[in-house]
Subunit: 348 residues, 2 copies
């Protein structure tokens, strides 16, 4: 017998016991630090286990303890740019507690999702995290009354018993607009995405609240909805910079792509950012924000932290603690050069 | 007893047997379609199992069969833009075969990677897929002579016994440059990333080979290395469009970010794409390629397919088939408007 195992040929407790010249029960006690044994026997068993490369079998231990130390993560974002940092935070948080994550890509296909849930239940996961491409309402996960703990992150459901974690979109918009008002901007426009997104409605509410707090008026003619695209950012300038209309001195954009289009469009019109017009984005999508000329001040949803917090809550649910309802985590302002708070080219 | 289980309270085979009024052995035979049983008994057991929501326990079956139907995926890309489509393809391929994927983020930290490997071995995974942020050589995974099947994808190691899957960077560059030559471009420049990347060296080799095939000369003054950034793309134009030097009529860029910088820079110099200069990128990073003005013709590394193929190979290795060495999968040309093969704004 050797410590090398081929596929399906694990070193077993039986192998360790045989090498140490003890019974399987004694070997088990020695390795689990239990029972009454002489130090000499315990040490001999441990030495034999090390020599053979014996690894306590998680599967067998799972059966024994009724906990598998695995969780499932179901994403509908095809592991895209929103779910990636969330998954990263989740995985880090759980790995710190020796828990492993099964990744399941459901791509908004309810049948595929149901198959993943079946498979996760069969694998006796201790809990499930659900994440999505957008934070809008979804139907609850169908768990067949299994009672399995679930956390929704960057995703929510209308089951009042569900635990949902979201970024504070409204608060993020308040940060962005308070920054603009604090830098002395007085005529702030808002160019944002499609109305049907809850995030659009919440960010607009934050925009209005921040302007009201600063004693400014949110002009409806300066609040424009379109696509989440650079092209829309450029197109919106047509309406904001009409002749014989007072132009804005700042634009709060619904995401970084819109902001990039706005900044490119302004430059092409000979309008200087930030001297003439300050621009703030939303997402802190580094590849876009840093490539803007000047680099873009924007709001970070702290998605990795959101993922870590989802892991923390799932662990608490597994331990029997209750969480319910929608909880929103704060966003942060990332200051670069597009608002004049830093010299051109500066980076916070 | 009820079909509802709380945490740790699974419906067991014993529960099913009790409800059906048979022994555990009989219940097991009935559910596993084995042994000699009357149809009536078999059907009664199956009906009881359904009623209770009994789910055959994967963990117990794993112990029995010596296969866990789980694999580990270790990424050093923090689940970034290269590893995500790979993971997506891998997960799809394995889910089709009822195998689940543990995601492990090692972020280039050897200790973290070692802990993940320990944990995966403890979970008795059937195999491991390793992926990275770049396709350059890495040390082999430390598997303690476990004999566990491993596939490296978008990642390679110099162990000749290892199975490595990579995109055909050289072939992708040939596609790009043959496209330019085929459209009648004669003076083709190459603006690319840092020398230390294998991908840079392979793509340049493809560039040279394609030009030679077309009877063109690869002018060393028109081959420039810098960062993987838009800023470098713009800066490279300073050297390509010096006064009193014959300007290129096409630029093959090492990635899409460089191409975006090149296209923006050309527009700002009053040079028209594609009429004056055709541009091709590399990566088909949609968010960048589609936002270019005009939209960018580029090379797609087919990463999702690469992930599917990694899954297929891992399954073959698990089944005992041998694979070794580096295998490269073809790239594709994605035609948009930046080379003149399509009208401006067109998309393939």
């Amino acid at each position: 017998m050797s410590a090398v195992r081929g596929r399906g040929m694990f070193v077993t407790l039986r192998d360790v016991a045989r090498l140490a010249g003890v019974s399987i029960g004694t070997a088990s006690k020695a390795l689990n630090r239990g029972g009454k044994l002489s130090d000499e026997t315990r040490e001999r068993v441990i030495a034999c286990a090390d020599k053979l490369g014996f690894r306590p079998n998680d599967l067998a231990q799972s059966l024994h303890r009724g906990q598998s130390f695995t969780v499932g993560a179901i994403s509908n974002d095809s592991f895209g740019r929103f779910s990636m940092p969330i998954m990263e935070g989740l995985e880090e948080c759980l790995a710190d507690r020796s828990m492993s994550v099964f990744m399941c890509n459901a791509t908004d296909d309810p049948e595929r999702e149901a198959r993943h849930v079946e498979s996760l239940l069969g694998k006796r996961v201790d809990g499930i995290v659900v994440t999505g491409r957008r934070a809008d309402l979804r139907r609850p996960l169908e768990l067949h009354a299994s009672g399995l703990p679930v956390v929704y992150v960057y995703s929510q459901t209308d089951d009042p018993a569900a635990s949902c974690l979201l970024p504070d979109d409204r608060g993020g918009a308040v940060l962005a607009c308070a920054h603009l008002a604090g830098l002395g901007r007085r005529r702030i426009a808002h160019v944002t995405g499609p109305e049907r997104f809850e995030a659009v409605r919440l960010r607009r509410a934050g925009f209005r609240a921040a302007l009201a707090s600063a004693g400014l008026v949110a002009d409806d003619k300066l609040t424009l909805s379109g696509d989440w695209s650079e092209a829309w950012g450029r197109a919106a300038l047509e309406q904001l910079f009409k002749p014989r209309r007072r132009a804005p001195d700042a634009i709060f954009c619904g995401n970084d792509q819109i902001a990039r289009g706005v900044i490119d469009g302004l430059r092409e019109r000979g309008i200087t950012v930030p001297a003439d017009v300050a621009v703030v984005g939303f997402d802190n999508w580094q590849i876009i924000a840093e490539a803007c000329r000047p680099p873009l001040t924007t709001i970070d949803m702290n998605l990795k932290q959101l993922g870590r917090e989802a892991g923390r809550r799932l662990i608490e649910l597994i331990a029997g603690k209750k969480h319910a309802g929608v909880h929103r985590l704060p966003c942060s302002l990332v200051v670069r050069a597009s608002c004049g708070a830093l010299p051109h080219g500066g980076n916070s």
